[in-house]
């Protein structure tokens, strides 16, 4: 960062660091340990309720939830990486990660589409199938 000046806000540019794994990133709200600033009323353990498939659910729903959880974690890692790239377009680490995540996400969306239903308009499966996301039926 350049020298500080009077009468204007300054925030240091973030440097790349070792990231959380994608499950922890989703549970925390960021892939960057440096941006995890919990509130004191929050419990020490950030995994209060891990996403576990409902054991009473059918094998099909359990598999659907497992895959959806993987898609959520990976997609969120991509969301956070893209915001980092918006302000760090020169970052080779973020660029490589983005490319990697996009490839993996494509594969998972295709698998979900083939096994269950379409999550995006690029998926072949029937758009109207599957529960609406706000129903909480498929986490």
């Amino acid at each position: 960062m350049e020298q500080q000046h009077l009468a204007i806000a300054s925030v240091p540019m973030q440097n790349w660091e070792t990231l959380y794994d994608w499950d922890q990133a989703l549970a925390t709200g960021t892939i960057f340990p440096g941006l995890n600033k919990p509130f004191f009323v929050l419990e020490e353990n950030s995994f209060e309720t891990e996403f576990k498939p409902d054991e009473n659910a059918s094998p099909e729903q359990q598999e659907r939830e497992r895959l959806m959880k993987e898609i959520s974690a990976l997609s969120f890692a991509l969301d956070d990486t893209v915001l980092y790239l918006d302000t760090h377009p020169e970052s080779a680490e973020a660029m490589d990660l983005r490319k990697n995540l996009i490839e993996q996400r494509k594969g998972l969306l295709k698998e979900f589409d083939e096994k269950f239903y379409a999550l995006t308009k690029d998926c072949i499966g029937c758009w109207g199938e599957g529960p609406m996301p706000w129903e909480g039926a498929c986490i």
Partner: protein, 203 residues
């Protein structure tokens, strides 16, 4: 152009009806520091931003805020989907019920309707990005306050996630301000309006 992806950014699965909690959380839908307000603020400000990457950041964060609005709405919906009239009365949710039954409508916790007066699009990059920094802080405080009052872990998990996002977005807007400052005169950042007097921008 926008496309919809049929999933929540963070999963919401709430099994216990609680209209009182719904009434508090709805503020992050249509309240002064809510997600709708955040999204409209960034998506309105982006067109005239003098630095292209800052316009890109506002687009991406403005889009993510729409996904956050959906998370909040899913929470309110699941907290009230099995609501009875008796529960609505006991929890003070009856006034909302009269006007909206169990439907979603953007309002603050105290019932004030959503309004664009809650945000600004000022046409000056320093003013707008400084507003955006403050907006993220204000939203973070709302999540702090909600987390102090709400004990149900099924509700707390998404709130914790959303709270962290406010801090991440604050960092990104701070970086966007730094990127904007690079194009200004560091001896006097207020010599011209970077969105109106573009001829003075440095390369």
């Amino acid at each position: 152009m926008w496309t919809y992806e049929k999933r929540l950014q963070f999963p919401v699965k709430i099994t216990k009806t609680c209209p009182k909690t719904a009434q508090l959380i709805i503020s992050q839908y249509g309240g002064p520091d809510g997600e709708l307000s955040a999204s409209m603020r960034y998506l309105s400000q982006r067109y005239t931003m003098p630095v292209k990457t800052v316009g890109g950041l506002l687009t991406d964060i403005g889009t993510e805020e729409l996904a956050h609005m959906e998370i909040i709405c899913a929470m309110v919906y699941q907290l009230t989907r099995d609501l009875t009239v008796e529960q609505a009365q006991a929890a003070g949710f009856d006034a909302y019920y009269i006007d909206h039954t169990k439907a979603l409508w953007p309002q603050a916790a105290a019932g004030v309707p959503f309004t664009s007066l809650e945000f600004q699009s000022k046409g000056d990059a320093i003013a707008d990005l400084t507003e955006d920094l403050a907006a993220e802080q204000k939203a973070r405080v709302v999540y702090d306050n909600l987390l102090r009052m709400i004990t149900d872990p099924e509700v707390r998990e998404p709130l914790k996630f959303l709270r962290t996002r406010e801090i991440v977005h604050f960092q990104r807007f701070g970086e966007a301000l730094e990127k904007t400052k690079e194009r200004l005169d560091s001896n006097n950042y207020y010599y011209f309006n970077p969105e109106f007097d573009k001829k003075f921008l440095q390369n």
